[in-house]
Symmetry: C2
Subunit: 360 residues, 2 copies
């Protein structure tokens, strides 16, 4: 974690504030609500990279016209267990929540659903949608394609997006388990941040222009897949799986063939595909039996012996659960640079600022 | 690749030989055929660790009574898109092929299928089943749980199996793309082999009894998840996903709670769960459009610039495709130790040996 300097805002107030800023940029009531929900959900669970700090990024795209803030996702069911959500070049977040809703409705009927989201846009953290399914009692797998930032294994040039895979499932008596991982070791943002701070990169996560591994953030041009120089074919393989689920299933070209999400042009749609699976645990065994076994697995995992001096094994999302509990009490942190941008937009649009909890 | 010393046998002859050896150990005609098909498919594609060399392992379990060679898998469909294949403590390979068949039938009707395999046994390489679906024109995801061999991230003691994930999909005009990867960097067999050969391990793939990373194969007691000391929580997260799909969905306890597959007791069933998804590409877009996009992705990937002096980026399973082409011409290699075991069993059972192609 990088050192924090900023303000803290209660999640409810932050969500309303984010929604107002998105409406101000042209989003519909429901589009703004769905996007604010996802961003504050991510921030509430500690995913600051994919949380409230992205509001200006979506505002730029809404104001520029790349994203149609008034678009409303439509759904078709080409086969009984399959849905296609067409986001119509609108916000990716409400389209992804819509995909989960539809997936749940289908899974209730037939046991599992596959939902492809087409003509979408950047949807923040994929885990926001799989966790929504898990909170409702379903297991879910989700992935999205993204801008090229990761070289193929043995390559030198960005080809894959960080192509995240997220899996979430309900647990008995506690918040769902959520895995939400890039198929690279680190995101490109980390490289940019380390350039600013002058700190070295960890070994074996990035290469220079010649494809040689480097820990110099200024020399690093491209990430490498999870697994690094020796085992990166595994991370790359997962990335190919994500591309095949998010591209051919949705009709959206893979990241390498389409325009970048970065500016300065924010006028033309840059369509993205997402892919979700929703499974009904009760379709396989009784819901209670399913939950009991999932609980046993996680309990056994948490009880494993730890390396000397370390905290010990955890289940995926255990650290985020602690962070979420802390943020529920102290408010969601908003870093100073993001807060400054949000305040400037709010003042320009005549939007009231949310109450600030504390400055630390 | 380790140096090869052994014989080569044509795949068809090898499959018939393996089936005869399995029948001799008590497998039914169809059980032996399904198992031999999977083992020789794996060997034909270069997966020697999960190929013909496992025949004695399955014979031990059949003869000991752990695996009921006469069991025939039965199928139920609790919901229209979900099937449960009960292997009845029989061979895992025919049960897994049965799961794919059922998955295809379901996917043809509703677009996607989830198939849980319960009361199964070790099924060899999971990719044998996903590739079977892909050869028939479907995309498939498969996973299986396995004996504990991998410490949790930050742990010191084996908890997870190598818990493989396999994904396969059809490609236009060539064999399917197949990813078939353990969620650890290497298998435990590699450690055992390096103990025999006195060779160091690669860095960051195993730990000693105190949980410290080691490259000494004799000190190494446990593998670590893909990602190693820094990013192993990702490999561990994927492993948890595999456990949740193969355990609670099938009713089979996770590896940490059940008996090991190793001997010497081969009398009692050690039930294992597998989990498969089968997707019909034509359910999302036209089959032709789907294949064209998948082909574009793979073509773009193969065309990526290579690091100086290296062969350059490949698609998953490209190396196996080259190996398969070579083995189709020269025969499937069987290492000398395995061949000796197979010959001894064949002579004891009065089974004719297959013609041997060449001794190199």
């Amino acid at each position: 974690l990088e050192a924090f300097d900023g303000v803290r805002v209660r999640s409810g107030a932050l969500e309303a504030f984010a929604a107002a800023l998105l409406r101000d940029a042209g989003a519909s009531e429901t589009g703004a609500a769905g996007t604010a929900r996802a961003l504050v959900d991510a921030s509430s669970r500690g995913f600051d990279t994919h949380g409230i700090r992205l509001v200006p990024f979506y505002r730029d795209q809404l104001i520029g016209g790349r994203i149609d803030g008034k678009a409303s996702p439509t759904v078709t069911r080409p086969m009984p267990a399959v849905a296609i959500v067409d986001a119509h070049d609108g916000l990716g977040h409400p389209a992804s929540y819509r995909a989960i809703e539809e997936g749940i409705a289908i899974a209730d009927t037939v046991g599992i659903a596959a939902v492809a989201v087409t003509r979408s846009s950047h949807h923040g953290a994929t885990g926001c949608y799989t966790i929504a399914a898990a909170r409702a009692g379903y297991a879910a797998l989700g992935c999205t394609n993204a801008d090229p930032a990761v070289a193929p294994h043995g390559g030198i040039k960005a080809f894959f997006g960080t192509n995240p895979i997220s899996f979430a499932a309900p647990l008995p008596g506690e918040a769902p388990l959520v895995l939400d991982m890039a198929t690279s070791s680190i995101p490109m943002n980390r490289v940019l941040l380390r350039r600013d701070t002058g700190t070295k990169l960890p070994p074996d996560v990035a290469v220079d222009a010649a494809g040689e591994p480097t820990i110099d953030p200024h020399a690093a041009t491209t990430l490498v897949p999870l697994g690094g120089a020796a085992w990166g074919y595994k991370g790359a393989g997962l990335s190919v799986m994500v591309e095949l689920l998010c591209g051919p299933m949705t009709g959206m070209v893979h990241g390498f063939r389409r325009k970048s999400l970065g500016g300065p042009d924010f006028t033309t749609p840059v369509p993205i595909g997402h892919f979700f699976l929703v499974l009904k645990p009760g379709a396989f065994r009784s819901r209670e039996a399913w939950l009991a076994m999932a609980g046993d697995l996680v309990a056994d995992l948490r009880a494993q012996p730890a390396r000397h001096g370390e905290a010990g094994p955890q289940a995926p999302s255990d650290p985020e659960k602690r962070e979420a509990a802390d943020r529920a009490v102290r408010g969601v942190p908003v870093d100073r640079a993001t807060w400054g941008r949000l305040v400037a937009s709010a003042e320009a649009g005549g939007i009231a600022l949310p109450p600030v909890e504390a400055a630390g």
